[in-house]
């Protein structure tokens, strides 16, 4: 499957350029929206959880404010949720192309997911630098290590998006289910709250979700300055498995897309 992508790298590049180019085409502030949307979310969450609910951060947060605590996981979450959503829609929104031209359809999913990750990675970097400048204990030197955690997230997003895109093409109900599912996962993952606040009995359940481990690791690396661990390979293993299964499923159905679009 990577061979297919390499053989069609120019097409993938073209799709990526198109994804990035059309995303904010026609809007006044253009790419600024990519940053404004998560910033607005962050402001709302910061208000709710520091002024209304007053969340107590554990000492592992390294003395960061709630805003920094939430921000380091919120951006990766937005990459994932947006990547999955756009990837899922990529087949339908390019129906015109699929009906007329022969090419590996998975490239559309890759392009949609990669572009979401790329756009928000830039925003993420800008936010981290800003927070550090404001005196938050962000370990900027650890930022490159974050890539080793975000790359498996991206691969897994491709896998999940591929399954959803194939299903969405055949059954129109998938979109509805996914938007509910994403909300459940969002609140079921310690993004806005520390895992330490979750009752002991539920914590083992939450650990089944690999995103929980990822969220914890992101905070350890960025806020506590920890390095990479051998256990991070588990995240890679899970991501590779999701990606592989997702694409196998996709390839099984993709020759029939034209019949349904």
């Amino acid at each position: 499957m990577p061979a297919t992508v390499y053989a069609h790298r120019w097409l993938l590049a073209s799709f990526l350029r198109r994804e990035l180019g059309t995303r904010y085409a026609g809007s006044v502030s253009g790419a600024a929206w990519a940053l404004l949307h998560p910033l607005a979310l962050l402001a709302v969450y910061a208000f709710i959880f520091t002024t209304v609910f007053r969340v107590q951060l554990p000492p592992t947060a390294g003395g960061a404010s709630y805003t920094a605590f939430a921000a380091v996981v919120l951006w990766p979450w937005i990459m994932l949720s947006e990547g999955v959503t756009r990837g899922m829609e990529s087949i339908q929104s390019n129906a015109g192309l699929i009906r007329k031209v022969a090419f590996p359809h998975a490239l559309l999913v890759y392009a949609a997911v990669f572009s979401s990750f790329a756009v928000h990675a830039v925003g993420f970097a800008a936010v981290l630098v800003t927070l550090a400048a404001l005196g938050e204990p962000i370990h900027l030197l650890r930022v490159p290590l974050v890539l080793a955690l975000l790359f498996p997230l991206c691969l897994a997003a491709v896998g999940v998006a591929a399954i959803l895109a194939a299903l969405q093409t055949l059954l129109k109900d998938v979109e509805q289910v996914v938007s509910i599912g994403l909300t459940v996962v969002f609140y079921g993952t310690p993004i806005l709250y520390p895992l330490a606040l979750v009752p002991e009995s539920l914590r083992s359940w939450m650990n089944v979700n690999p995103l929980t481990a990822l969220a914890e690791r992101l905070r350890e690396v960025l806020l506590a300055g920890s390095g990479l661990q051998l256990s991070d390979l588990w995240l890679w293993a899970i991501a590779l498995a999701v990606w592989w299964v997702g694409l196998k499923f996709f390839e099984r159905l993709s020759p029939h897309f034209e019949d349904f679009l």
Partner: protein
């Protein structure tokens, strides 16, 4: 001749280059997806590799071979499965039955303007189309100017495609397809959309492309284009091959089929009998009296007609022949020949006009017959029939004029001074 027999006899007819496209027993069933339940059953069927998916049949048992350097025509009514077949060859649709091999790079112009992103400018779409064909950005850059020049849409090339007219999108699509020099070029009704001069440009390009050994798969409703560009053709009817073989034979059979279909439909009541002369019936026959819509150049044609006159006086008649594009070829009055139609009963008059050794060159024509008042002054009624004249000739123009080549008598002194 049955379709199967036609295919068999013609299979050995062509020799030449290597086989670029080979289809054996291709069938395509489209799943029925209107209801949600059908969609679920189909999804399950596809995942479990089961065959009992609710479907309708778009193509059945199509076999075809196209060799390098060949031009192949595809004709058939709307919904006969032509586009589905082209999509299978282009690799866009997966056939549900049969096997197929395609060698080389396929360039497909399926329902034009396709593969274009509406928000993107023409120039940006050129890069996207080139990437779809596997070209790098650098390779594309070298070809862009040629594409822009061929499309010849001026400043519009830097405007979004969504502001293009359908004709402009076609021009760009054809320009892109031509610049990327595919091994096999598939065109689906491309020539029908562009304006006259662009059509000519396309035909000229196609002729050069074929002359240079290019391979073409042309789907068209213009029998003229199929006859002039293609050597072999296939007629698809309701998803199956009705006839395959020499393009002249296939197009003639196809046109005859339409003639017969139209004749059945045309037996509708004519305008009410009034005070003016009418033409009540008209048909075109061969020398042996059989009704026909297609004549070979040089064959005899007979126009049979029945006129009606309100006062029982024989009406004057006028026939005219025009080419399909409206250019008049010839017309003549019955008066001038001193002809009076034969009285069939009180008010009906039968007449015929014989055209021995039809001089029309191959092409489409319309034969008209008009009824005039007995004085031959006012024209009251018209009936017309389209005909196709077939034949193979390098002559051009409208009609063949009698001529003979012979030794000349001019001396060198007659040459113009240099």
């Amino acid at each position: 001749m049955t379709p199967a027999a036609a295919t068999a006899t013609l299979a050995g007819n062509h020799t030449g280059g290597s086989v670029l496209v080979a289809l054996q027993g291709i069938g395509k069933d489209y799943p029925k997806v209107a209801a949600g339940g059908d969609r679920l059953r189909t999804l399950w069927g596809l995942l479990a590799h089961r065959a009992d998916i609710p479907h309708f049949r778009a193509l059945h048992g199509v076999s075809l071979e196209i060799r390098r350097g060949e031009a192949f025509g595809l004709v058939g009514e709307n919904g006969a499965g032509k586009s589905t077949l082209l999509k299978i060859i282009a690799g866009v649709v997966k056939p549900s039955a049969g096997t197929f091999q395609v060698a080389g790079r396929i360039g497909a112009l399926l329902e034009l303007g396709s593969g274009f992103h509406p928000e993107y400018t023409g120039r940006e779409n050129i890069f996207l189309a080139a990437a779809l064909m596997g070209l790098s950005r650098r390779e594309t850059r070298e070809k862009v100017e040629a594409i822009v020049a061929f499309a010849d849409i001026g400043q519009h090339i830097d405007e979004p495609i969504k502001h293009y007219s359908s004709g402009m999108a076609v021009r760009l699509g054809f320009a892109v397809a031509t610049a990327l020099t595919p091994d096999v070029l598939i065109t689906d009704e491309v020539l029908a959309v562009g304006d006259e001069s662009f059509q000519k440009k396309c035909i000229r390009w196609l002729e050069r492309y074929l002359g240079d050994g290019g391979t073409l798969l042309l789907c068209s409703h213009s029998m003229y284009h199929v006859q002039t560009l293609c050597t072999r053709a296939m007629w698809l009817h309701e998803g199956e091959v009705r006839l395959q073989g020499d393009s002249f034979d296939v197009t003639r059979e196809y046109l005859t089929f339409h003639e017969e279909k139209n004749r059945v439909q045309e037996q509708s009541p004519r305008a009410a009998e009034g005070l003016n002369p009418l033409i009540r019936a008209m048909r075109l026959e061969r020398a042996d009296g059989t009704v026909a819509g297609t004549f070979a150049s040089g064959e005899d044609m007979v126009l049979q007609g029945l006129a009606w006159s309100p006062d029982g006086r024989a009406p004057a008649l006028l026939f005219g022949i025009v080419r399909a594009d409206g250019t008049p070829v010839y017309g003549a009055h019955s008066d001038d020949s001193g002809f009076t139609p034969l009285r069939a009963d009180d008010r009906h008059f039968a007449f015929a006009a014989r055209f021995p050794a039809l001089a029309l060159l191959p092409g489409k024509y319309t034969v008209r017959i008009h009824a005039l008042d007995p004085e031959g002054l006012r024209l009251f009624d018209t009936l017309e029939k389209d005909i196709v004249v077939t034949g193979r000739t390098r002559d051009y123009g409208l009609v063949r004029l009698a001529h003979e080549w012979r030794p000349g008598t001019l001396r060198p002194e007659a040459a113009k001074a240099p």
